[in-house]
Protein backbone atom coordinates (compact mmCIF):
# COMPACT_ATOMS: atom_id res chain seq x y z
CA UNK A 1 0.00 0.00 0.00
CA UNK A 2 0.96 3.61 0.20
CA UNK A 3 2.64 3.07 3.53
CA UNK A 4 5.17 0.54 2.39
CA UNK A 5 5.91 2.64 -0.62
CA UNK A 6 6.60 5.63 1.52
CA UNK A 7 8.84 3.56 3.74
CA UNK A 8 10.92 2.43 0.82
CA UNK A 9 11.24 5.88 -0.67
CA UNK A 10 14.23 7.20 1.31
CA UNK A 11 16.37 4.23 0.40
CA UNK A 12 15.54 4.65 -3.25
CA UNK A 13 16.35 8.34 -3.00
CA UNK A 14 19.76 7.83 -1.57
CA UNK A 15 20.63 5.28 -4.23
CA UNK A 16 19.77 7.79 -6.88
CA UNK A 17 21.70 10.52 -5.21
CA UNK A 18 24.75 8.30 -5.17
CA UNK A 19 24.28 7.41 -8.80
CA UNK A 20 23.92 11.00 -9.96
CA UNK A 21 26.93 12.24 -8.03
CA UNK A 22 29.18 9.82 -9.85
CA UNK A 23 27.76 10.96 -13.21
CA UNK A 24 29.01 13.89 -15.25
CA UNK A 25 29.21 17.51 -14.16
CA UNK A 26 26.42 19.46 -12.44
CA UNK A 27 23.23 19.38 -14.54
CA UNK A 28 22.57 22.81 -16.04
CA UNK A 29 18.83 22.68 -15.65
CA UNK A 30 16.02 20.57 -14.28
CA UNK A 31 15.53 18.64 -17.51
CA UNK A 32 19.17 17.57 -17.51
CA UNK A 33 18.95 16.72 -13.84
CA UNK A 34 15.92 14.53 -14.41
CA UNK A 35 17.69 12.78 -17.22
CA UNK A 36 20.88 12.42 -15.22
CA UNK A 37 19.01 11.04 -12.20
CA UNK A 38 16.95 8.81 -14.43
CA UNK A 39 13.99 9.74 -12.32
CA UNK A 40 11.03 12.14 -12.41
CA UNK A 41 9.08 13.20 -9.35
CA UNK A 42 5.49 14.28 -9.99
CA UNK A 43 3.26 15.65 -7.25
CA UNK A 44 -0.54 15.63 -7.15
CA UNK A 45 -3.46 15.97 -4.79
CA UNK A 46 -4.76 12.43 -5.19
CA UNK A 47 -8.44 12.86 -4.36
CA UNK A 48 -9.60 14.46 -7.62
CA UNK A 49 -11.13 11.78 -9.82
CA UNK A 50 -11.03 11.23 -12.70
CA UNK A 51 -7.88 13.34 -12.99
CA UNK A 52 -6.16 11.46 -10.18
CA UNK A 53 -7.28 9.14 -7.46
CA UNK A 54 -6.06 6.27 -5.34
CA UNK A 55 -7.20 2.73 -5.99
CA UNK A 56 -6.75 1.30 -2.54
CA UNK A 57 -6.91 -2.28 -3.79
CA UNK A 58 -3.48 -1.72 -5.31
CA UNK A 59 -0.27 -0.70 -3.64
CA UNK A 60 2.88 1.29 -4.27
CA UNK A 61 3.00 3.48 -7.36
CA UNK A 62 0.34 1.27 -8.94
CA UNK A 63 -2.38 2.70 -6.75
CA UNK A 64 -2.26 6.13 -8.35
CA UNK A 65 -4.92 6.08 -11.06
CA UNK A 66 -6.54 8.66 -13.28
CA UNK A 67 -5.99 10.39 -16.62
CA UNK A 68 -3.30 12.67 -15.22
CA UNK A 69 -1.38 9.75 -13.84
CA UNK A 70 -1.43 8.07 -17.24
CA UNK A 71 -0.10 11.31 -18.69
CA UNK A 72 2.64 11.36 -16.09
CA UNK A 73 3.59 7.80 -16.95
CA UNK A 74 3.61 8.67 -20.63
CA UNK A 75 5.88 11.65 -20.02
CA UNK A 76 8.29 9.63 -17.91
CA UNK A 77 8.31 6.92 -20.51
CA UNK A 78 9.02 9.38 -23.26
CA UNK A 79 11.88 10.95 -21.28
CA UNK A 80 13.17 7.47 -20.61
CA UNK A 81 13.17 7.93 -16.83
CA UNK A 82 11.58 6.29 -13.84
CA UNK A 83 8.48 7.91 -12.37
CA UNK A 84 7.73 8.64 -8.74
CA UNK A 85 4.31 10.00 -7.88
CA UNK A 86 4.09 11.90 -4.59
CA UNK A 87 0.69 12.70 -3.06
CA UNK A 88 0.21 15.98 -1.20
CA UNK A 89 -2.59 18.25 -0.10
CA UNK A 90 -3.57 20.87 -2.64
CA UNK A 91 -1.96 23.97 -1.15
CA UNK A 92 1.20 21.95 -0.76
CA UNK A 93 1.04 21.01 -4.44
CA UNK A 94 0.92 24.67 -5.42
CA UNK A 95 3.78 25.76 -3.20
CA UNK A 96 5.68 22.56 -3.91
CA UNK A 97 6.25 23.85 -7.43
CA UNK A 98 6.36 27.60 -6.78
CA UNK A 99 9.12 27.12 -4.22
CA UNK A 100 10.98 24.71 -6.48
CA UNK A 101 10.74 21.94 -3.91
CA UNK A 102 9.42 19.49 -6.49
CA UNK A 103 10.04 18.97 -10.17
CA UNK A 104 6.58 18.77 -11.64
CA UNK A 105 2.91 18.92 -10.74
CA UNK A 106 0.24 17.13 -12.79
CA UNK A 107 -2.86 17.58 -10.74
CA UNK A 108 -5.74 18.83 -12.87
CA UNK A 109 -4.30 22.29 -12.46
CA UNK A 110 -6.07 25.02 -14.39
CA UNK A 111 -4.24 27.92 -15.99
CA UNK A 112 -4.41 31.24 -14.17
CA UNK A 113 -2.41 34.43 -14.49
CA UNK A 114 -1.21 34.21 -10.89
CA UNK A 115 0.00 30.68 -11.32
CA UNK A 116 1.79 31.63 -14.52
CA UNK A 117 3.56 34.30 -12.49
CA UNK A 118 4.73 31.87 -9.86
CA UNK A 119 5.50 28.80 -11.97
CA UNK A 120 6.23 27.80 -15.52
CA UNK A 121 3.11 26.27 -17.08
CA UNK A 122 2.79 24.01 -20.10
CA UNK A 123 0.33 24.10 -22.95
CA UNK A 124 -3.08 22.71 -22.14
CA UNK A 125 -3.25 18.93 -22.32
CA UNK A 126 -6.95 18.51 -21.71
CA UNK A 127 -8.84 18.17 -24.98
CA UNK A 128 -12.16 17.60 -23.32
CA UNK A 129 -14.18 20.74 -23.21
CA UNK A 130 -14.47 21.01 -19.47
CA UNK A 131 -16.99 23.07 -17.62
CA UNK A 132 -17.24 24.29 -14.08
CA UNK A 133 -20.47 24.17 -12.17
CA UNK A 134 -22.04 23.32 -8.87
CA UNK A 135 -22.95 20.20 -6.98
CA UNK A 136 -26.11 20.83 -4.97
CA UNK A 137 -28.65 18.79 -3.08
CA UNK A 138 -31.13 17.16 -5.46
CA UNK A 139 -34.02 18.72 -3.56
CA UNK A 140 -32.65 22.16 -4.39
CA UNK A 141 -32.62 21.74 -8.17
CA UNK A 142 -35.57 24.10 -8.49
CA UNK A 143 -34.12 26.58 -6.02
CA UNK A 144 -30.98 27.30 -8.04
CA UNK A 145 -31.98 27.63 -11.68
CA UNK A 146 -29.53 30.44 -12.51
CA UNK A 147 -26.18 31.84 -11.41
CA UNK A 148 -28.08 34.78 -9.90
CA UNK A 149 -30.03 32.45 -7.65
CA UNK A 150 -26.72 31.51 -6.03
CA UNK A 151 -25.81 35.09 -5.13
CA UNK A 152 -25.24 35.48 -1.40
CA UNK A 153 -25.29 31.74 -0.79
CA UNK A 154 -22.77 29.57 1.03
CA UNK A 155 -20.57 28.05 -1.65
CA UNK A 156 -17.77 25.63 -0.94
CA UNK A 157 -14.64 25.10 -3.05
CA UNK A 158 -11.16 23.72 -2.78
CA UNK A 159 -8.75 26.28 -1.39
CA UNK A 160 -6.56 27.71 -4.13
CA UNK A 161 -8.57 26.11 -6.95
CA UNK A 162 -9.93 27.59 -10.18
CA UNK A 163 -13.41 27.27 -8.77
CA UNK A 164 -12.47 29.52 -5.88
CA UNK A 165 -11.46 32.15 -8.40
CA UNK A 166 -14.63 31.77 -10.47
CA UNK A 167 -16.85 31.80 -7.40
CA UNK A 168 -15.35 34.98 -6.07
CA UNK A 169 -15.50 36.63 -9.48
CA UNK A 170 -18.97 35.58 -10.61
CA UNK A 171 -21.15 35.05 -7.54
CA UNK A 172 -22.07 38.33 -5.90
CA UNK A 173 -22.05 38.59 -2.10
CA UNK A 174 -20.92 35.01 -1.89
CA UNK A 175 -20.16 33.38 1.45
CA UNK A 176 -17.16 31.43 0.24
CA UNK A 177 -16.14 28.35 2.20
CA UNK A 178 -12.71 26.94 1.42
CA UNK A 179 -11.82 23.27 1.97
CA UNK A 180 -8.68 21.19 1.75
CA UNK A 181 -10.25 18.78 -0.70
CA UNK A 182 -13.37 18.58 -2.85
CA UNK A 183 -14.11 15.46 -0.83
CA UNK A 184 -14.61 17.47 2.35
CA UNK A 185 -16.55 20.17 0.55
CA UNK A 186 -19.05 17.56 -0.67
CA UNK A 187 -19.40 16.22 2.87
CA UNK A 188 -20.14 19.74 4.03
CA UNK A 189 -22.84 20.02 1.36
CA UNK A 190 -24.42 16.76 2.43
CA UNK A 191 -24.52 17.80 6.05
CA UNK A 192 -26.14 21.10 5.08
CA UNK A 193 -23.25 23.32 6.02
CA UNK A 194 -23.08 24.84 2.53
CA UNK A 195 -25.60 25.35 -0.29
CA UNK A 196 -23.41 24.36 -3.20
CA UNK A 197 -19.93 23.11 -4.06
CA UNK A 198 -18.14 24.71 -6.97
CA UNK A 199 -16.48 21.94 -8.97
CA UNK A 200 -15.16 21.03 -12.33
CA UNK A 201 -18.11 19.44 -14.08
CA UNK A 202 -16.54 16.04 -14.61
CA UNK A 203 -15.31 15.77 -11.07
CA UNK A 204 -18.74 16.81 -9.78
CA UNK A 205 -20.52 14.19 -11.84
CA UNK A 206 -18.63 11.43 -10.07
CA UNK A 207 -19.94 12.61 -6.74
CA UNK A 208 -23.44 12.93 -8.12
CA UNK A 209 -23.28 9.38 -9.43
CA UNK A 210 -22.15 8.03 -6.09
CA UNK A 211 -24.61 9.96 -3.94
CA UNK A 212 -28.33 9.81 -4.60
CA UNK A 213 -29.05 13.00 -2.70
CA UNK A 214 -26.84 15.13 -4.94
CA UNK A 215 -27.26 16.67 -8.37
CA UNK A 216 -25.42 18.99 -10.76
CA UNK A 217 -27.05 22.42 -10.76
CA UNK A 218 -28.35 23.87 -14.02
CA UNK A 219 -26.15 26.97 -14.11
CA UNK A 220 -22.46 26.81 -15.03
CA UNK A 221 -19.69 29.34 -14.55
CA UNK A 222 -19.34 31.60 -17.58
CA UNK A 223 -16.26 32.36 -19.63
CA UNK A 224 -14.34 29.36 -18.39
CA UNK A 225 -11.76 29.21 -21.08
CA UNK A 226 -10.12 26.66 -19.04
CA UNK A 227 -6.82 25.05 -19.83
CA UNK A 228 -5.46 22.22 -17.73
CA UNK A 229 -1.70 22.41 -17.54
CA UNK A 230 1.46 20.80 -16.22
CA UNK A 231 3.43 23.00 -13.83
CA UNK A 232 7.18 23.07 -13.29
CA UNK A 233 9.32 25.50 -11.28
CA UNK A 234 9.71 28.99 -12.65
CA UNK A 235 12.27 29.36 -15.42
CA UNK A 236 12.63 25.70 -16.40
CA UNK A 237 12.05 26.46 -20.08
CA UNK A 238 14.03 23.49 -21.37
CA UNK A 239 11.88 21.13 -19.38
CA UNK A 240 8.62 22.81 -20.38
CA UNK A 241 9.64 22.71 -24.03
CA UNK A 242 10.05 18.97 -23.76
CA UNK A 243 6.73 18.65 -21.96
CA UNK A 244 4.98 20.72 -24.59
CA UNK A 245 6.42 18.46 -27.27
CA UNK A 246 5.08 15.40 -25.47
CA UNK A 247 1.69 17.03 -24.88
CA UNK A 248 1.40 17.79 -28.56
CA UNK A 249 2.15 14.17 -29.24
CA UNK A 250 -0.53 13.03 -26.78
CA UNK A 251 -3.08 15.41 -28.26
CA UNK A 252 -2.40 14.30 -31.78
CA UNK A 253 -3.04 10.68 -30.84
CA UNK A 254 -6.14 11.54 -28.78
CA UNK A 255 -4.65 9.61 -25.91
CA UNK A 256 -5.86 11.83 -23.07
CA UNK A 257 -9.50 11.34 -24.09
CA UNK A 258 -9.02 7.63 -23.97
CA UNK A 259 -7.35 7.76 -20.52
CA UNK A 260 -10.10 10.05 -19.31
CA UNK A 261 -12.88 7.65 -20.31
CA UNK A 262 -11.09 4.70 -18.77
CA UNK A 263 -10.43 6.61 -15.56
CA UNK A 264 -14.04 7.71 -15.30
CA UNK A 265 -15.16 4.09 -15.50
CA UNK A 266 -12.54 2.95 -12.97
CA UNK A 267 -13.46 5.70 -10.55
CA UNK A 268 -17.11 4.76 -10.66
CA UNK A 269 -16.25 1.15 -9.97
CA UNK A 270 -13.97 1.93 -7.03
CA UNK A 271 -16.11 0.84 -4.12
CA UNK A 272 -17.97 -2.03 -5.78
Amino acid sequence: GCGSKAAEAPAADSNNAAASSTATAEPANLLEKIQADGKLQVICEPYFAPYEFIDSSLSGQEQYKGADMELARYIANDLGVELEIIPLEWTAVLTGISTGKYQMAISGMGYTEERAEAMTLSDSYNDIESFHGFVIKKENLETFPTLESLYGKRIAFQKGSLQEMYTNAQIQDVQGQPFDSVQNAILALQSGKVDAVAVSYDNGELFVDANEDLAMAEPLFEDTKDKTVVAVPKGETELITEINRIIADVRSQGLYVKWWDEATEQAKALDE
Binding site: L94, S98, Q177, L187, A188, S191, K193
Partner: protein, 219 residues
Amino acid sequence: MIANIVRIWGKYWMIFLEGLWNTFWIALVAIAVGTIFGTLIALVRMSKRKGISSIAAIYIEIIRGTPMLLQFYLFWLGLPYLFPTISNLACALVALCVNSSAYVAETIRAGIQAVDPGQREAALSLGLTESNIMKKVILPQAVKNILPALGNEFVVMIKETALASVFFVGELMTAFKTVQSNTFLALEPLIIVGLIYLFITLTLSNIMKVFERRMKAND
Protein backbone atom coordinates in the same frame (compact mmCIF):
# COMPACT_ATOMS: atom_id res chain seq x y z
CA MET B 1 14.21 35.65 2.31
CA ILE B 2 14.19 38.31 5.04
CA ALA B 3 13.18 40.82 2.38
CA ASN B 4 10.31 38.52 1.45
CA ILE B 5 9.26 38.19 5.07
CA VAL B 6 9.20 41.95 5.47
CA ARG B 7 7.28 42.38 2.26
CA ILE B 8 4.72 39.73 3.14
CA TRP B 9 4.26 41.17 6.60
CA GLY B 10 3.84 44.64 5.11
CA LYS B 11 1.16 43.41 2.76
CA TYR B 12 -0.68 40.80 4.76
CA TRP B 13 -0.23 41.85 8.39
CA MET B 14 -3.98 42.29 8.73
CA ILE B 15 -4.55 38.63 7.89
CA PHE B 16 -1.95 37.49 10.41
CA LEU B 17 -3.30 39.71 13.18
CA GLU B 18 -6.79 38.49 12.47
CA GLY B 19 -5.43 34.95 12.69
CA LEU B 20 -3.78 35.76 16.00
CA TRP B 21 -6.99 37.19 17.37
CA ASN B 22 -9.01 34.19 16.21
CA THR B 23 -6.47 31.74 17.61
CA PHE B 24 -6.58 33.56 20.90
CA TRP B 25 -10.32 33.79 21.40
CA ILE B 26 -10.99 30.27 20.12
CA ALA B 27 -8.48 28.87 22.59
CA LEU B 28 -9.90 31.06 25.34
CA VAL B 29 -13.46 29.86 24.74
CA ALA B 30 -12.21 26.28 24.59
CA ILE B 31 -10.40 26.53 27.89
CA ALA B 32 -13.23 28.41 29.60
CA VAL B 33 -15.92 25.96 28.54
CA GLY B 34 -13.49 23.10 29.09
CA THR B 35 -12.90 24.24 32.65
CA ILE B 36 -16.60 24.35 33.49
CA PHE B 37 -17.32 20.93 32.05
CA GLY B 38 -13.98 19.58 33.17
CA THR B 39 -14.81 20.43 36.78
CA LEU B 40 -18.10 18.58 36.54
CA ILE B 41 -16.47 15.60 34.87
CA ALA B 42 -13.75 15.56 37.52
CA LEU B 43 -16.34 15.51 40.30
CA VAL B 44 -18.23 12.71 38.58
CA ARG B 45 -14.94 10.88 38.06
CA MET B 46 -14.16 11.09 41.79
CA SER B 47 -17.64 10.03 42.81
CA LYS B 48 -17.79 7.00 45.03
CA ARG B 49 -20.44 5.39 42.87
CA LYS B 50 -18.46 3.09 40.60
CA GLY B 51 -21.01 3.22 37.77
CA ILE B 52 -21.10 6.92 37.06
CA SER B 53 -17.45 7.33 37.95
CA SER B 54 -16.46 4.89 35.24
CA ILE B 55 -18.61 6.68 32.67
CA ALA B 56 -16.51 9.77 33.28
CA ALA B 57 -13.36 7.65 33.16
CA ILE B 58 -14.33 6.19 29.79
CA TYR B 59 -15.14 9.63 28.41
CA ILE B 60 -11.74 10.89 29.50
CA GLU B 61 -9.94 7.84 28.08
CA ILE B 62 -11.63 8.17 24.70
CA ILE B 63 -10.82 11.84 24.35
CA ARG B 64 -7.26 11.48 25.56
CA GLY B 65 -6.70 8.31 23.56
CA THR B 66 -7.46 9.72 20.12
CA PRO B 67 -5.77 12.47 18.12
CA MET B 68 -7.24 15.96 18.18
CA LEU B 69 -7.32 15.92 14.39
CA LEU B 70 -9.59 12.88 14.44
CA GLN B 71 -11.86 14.61 16.93
CA PHE B 72 -12.09 17.62 14.65
CA TYR B 73 -13.21 15.40 11.80
CA LEU B 74 -15.63 13.52 14.01
CA PHE B 75 -17.43 16.59 15.28
CA TRP B 76 -17.32 18.20 11.90
CA LEU B 77 -19.01 15.17 10.37
CA GLY B 78 -21.27 14.22 13.24
CA LEU B 79 -22.63 17.47 14.64
CA PRO B 80 -24.62 18.45 11.52
CA TYR B 81 -26.86 15.41 12.07
CA LEU B 82 -28.00 17.15 15.26
CA PHE B 83 -27.69 20.76 14.17
CA PRO B 84 -28.05 20.92 10.40
CA THR B 85 -27.02 24.56 10.07
CA ILE B 86 -23.95 24.45 12.31
CA SER B 87 -20.87 26.21 10.94
CA ASN B 88 -17.37 24.81 10.54
CA LEU B 89 -16.14 27.17 13.21
CA ALA B 90 -18.79 26.01 15.65
CA CYS B 91 -17.87 22.37 15.00
CA ALA B 92 -14.21 23.13 15.59
CA LEU B 93 -15.05 25.01 18.77
CA VAL B 94 -17.13 22.14 20.12
CA ALA B 95 -14.31 19.72 19.35
CA LEU B 96 -11.81 21.91 21.21
CA CYS B 97 -14.13 22.37 24.19
CA VAL B 98 -14.78 18.64 24.45
CA ASN B 99 -11.08 17.91 24.14
CA SER B 100 -10.04 20.44 26.75
CA SER B 101 -12.79 19.34 29.14
CA ALA B 102 -11.25 15.86 29.32
CA TYR B 103 -7.73 17.14 29.90
CA VAL B 104 -8.91 19.76 32.38
CA ALA B 105 -10.90 17.10 34.25
CA GLU B 106 -7.73 15.13 34.83
CA THR B 107 -5.88 18.30 35.79
CA ILE B 108 -8.51 19.14 38.36
CA ARG B 109 -8.59 15.63 39.71
CA ALA B 110 -4.82 15.67 40.09
CA GLY B 111 -5.01 19.08 41.78
CA ILE B 112 -7.59 17.88 44.25
CA GLN B 113 -5.73 14.69 45.00
CA ALA B 114 -2.55 16.65 45.58
CA VAL B 115 -4.14 18.38 48.57
CA ASP B 116 -2.72 16.79 51.73
CA PRO B 117 -5.19 14.07 52.84
CA GLY B 118 -4.65 15.35 56.36
CA GLN B 119 -6.74 18.38 55.42
CA ARG B 120 -9.69 16.18 54.63
CA GLU B 121 -9.21 14.19 57.81
CA ALA B 122 -9.04 17.32 59.92
CA ALA B 123 -12.23 18.61 58.31
CA LEU B 124 -13.94 15.27 58.84
CA SER B 125 -12.88 15.20 62.47
CA LEU B 126 -14.53 18.61 62.92
CA GLY B 127 -17.80 17.14 61.70
CA LEU B 128 -17.98 19.02 58.39
CA THR B 129 -20.20 17.53 55.71
CA GLU B 130 -18.68 16.15 52.51
CA SER B 131 -19.90 19.06 50.43
CA ASN B 132 -18.58 21.63 52.91
CA ILE B 133 -15.25 19.85 53.01
CA MET B 134 -15.00 20.06 49.23
CA LYS B 135 -16.16 23.67 49.01
CA LYS B 136 -14.48 25.21 52.02
CA VAL B 137 -11.35 23.13 52.54
CA ILE B 138 -10.25 21.10 49.52
CA LEU B 139 -11.13 23.24 46.49
CA PRO B 140 -9.68 26.51 47.84
CA GLN B 141 -6.38 24.71 48.29
CA ALA B 142 -6.59 22.70 45.07
CA VAL B 143 -6.95 25.91 43.08
CA LYS B 144 -3.28 26.61 43.74
CA ASN B 145 -2.33 23.37 42.03
CA ILE B 146 -4.91 23.69 39.29
CA LEU B 147 -4.41 27.26 38.06
CA PRO B 148 -0.87 26.80 36.72
CA ALA B 149 -1.94 23.58 35.01
CA LEU B 150 -4.89 25.40 33.45
CA GLY B 151 -2.50 28.02 32.12
CA ASN B 152 -0.52 25.22 30.53
CA GLU B 153 -3.66 23.77 29.06
CA PHE B 154 -4.43 27.16 27.55
CA VAL B 155 -1.07 27.13 25.80
CA VAL B 156 -1.80 23.61 24.56
CA MET B 157 -5.17 24.76 23.21
CA ILE B 158 -3.55 27.64 21.37
CA LYS B 159 -1.38 25.12 19.60
CA GLU B 160 -4.27 22.72 18.98
CA THR B 161 -6.33 25.40 17.22
CA ALA B 162 -3.80 25.07 14.40
CA LEU B 163 -5.43 21.78 13.45
CA ALA B 164 -8.75 23.53 12.93
CA SER B 165 -7.12 25.10 9.90
CA VAL B 166 -8.17 21.96 8.04
CA PHE B 167 -11.60 23.59 8.16
CA PHE B 168 -10.34 27.12 7.50
CA VAL B 169 -11.71 28.63 10.67
CA GLY B 170 -9.54 31.67 10.23
CA GLU B 171 -6.94 31.15 12.95
CA LEU B 172 -3.19 31.57 12.46
CA MET B 173 -2.62 28.43 10.44
CA THR B 174 -5.46 29.35 8.12
CA ALA B 175 -3.84 32.75 7.76
CA PHE B 176 -0.66 30.94 6.74
CA LYS B 177 -2.51 28.92 4.12
CA THR B 178 -4.29 31.97 2.77
CA VAL B 179 -1.09 33.97 2.39
CA GLN B 180 0.61 30.89 1.00
CA SER B 181 -1.96 30.46 -1.76
CA ASN B 182 -1.89 34.15 -2.55
CA THR B 183 1.88 34.53 -2.71
CA PHE B 184 2.89 31.00 -3.72
CA LEU B 185 5.51 31.38 -1.02
CA ALA B 186 5.53 28.98 1.89
CA LEU B 187 8.56 29.30 4.15
CA GLU B 188 8.19 33.02 4.68
CA PRO B 189 4.58 33.13 5.88
CA LEU B 190 5.28 30.00 7.91
CA ILE B 191 8.12 31.74 9.73
CA ILE B 192 5.91 34.73 10.42
CA VAL B 193 3.18 32.51 11.82
CA GLY B 194 5.73 30.57 13.88
CA LEU B 195 7.02 33.78 15.42
CA ILE B 196 3.50 34.85 16.28
CA TYR B 197 2.83 31.52 17.96
CA LEU B 198 6.06 31.84 19.92
CA PHE B 199 5.14 35.35 20.93
CA ILE B 200 1.77 34.33 22.28
CA THR B 201 2.84 31.10 24.01
CA LEU B 202 5.93 32.65 25.58
CA THR B 203 3.99 35.67 26.75
CA LEU B 204 1.44 33.40 28.35
CA SER B 205 3.96 31.18 30.06
CA ASN B 206 5.80 34.20 31.41
CA ILE B 207 2.58 35.62 32.80
CA MET B 208 2.00 32.24 34.40
CA LYS B 209 5.46 32.18 35.93
CA VAL B 210 4.99 35.59 37.52
CA PHE B 211 1.61 34.48 38.78
CA GLU B 212 2.97 31.24 40.25
CA ARG B 213 5.80 33.08 41.94
CA ARG B 214 3.29 35.41 43.56
CA MET B 215 1.25 32.48 44.77
CA LYS B 216 4.32 30.75 46.17
CA ALA B 217 5.32 33.93 47.97
CA ASN B 218 1.97 33.72 49.73
CA ASP B 219 2.65 30.27 51.05
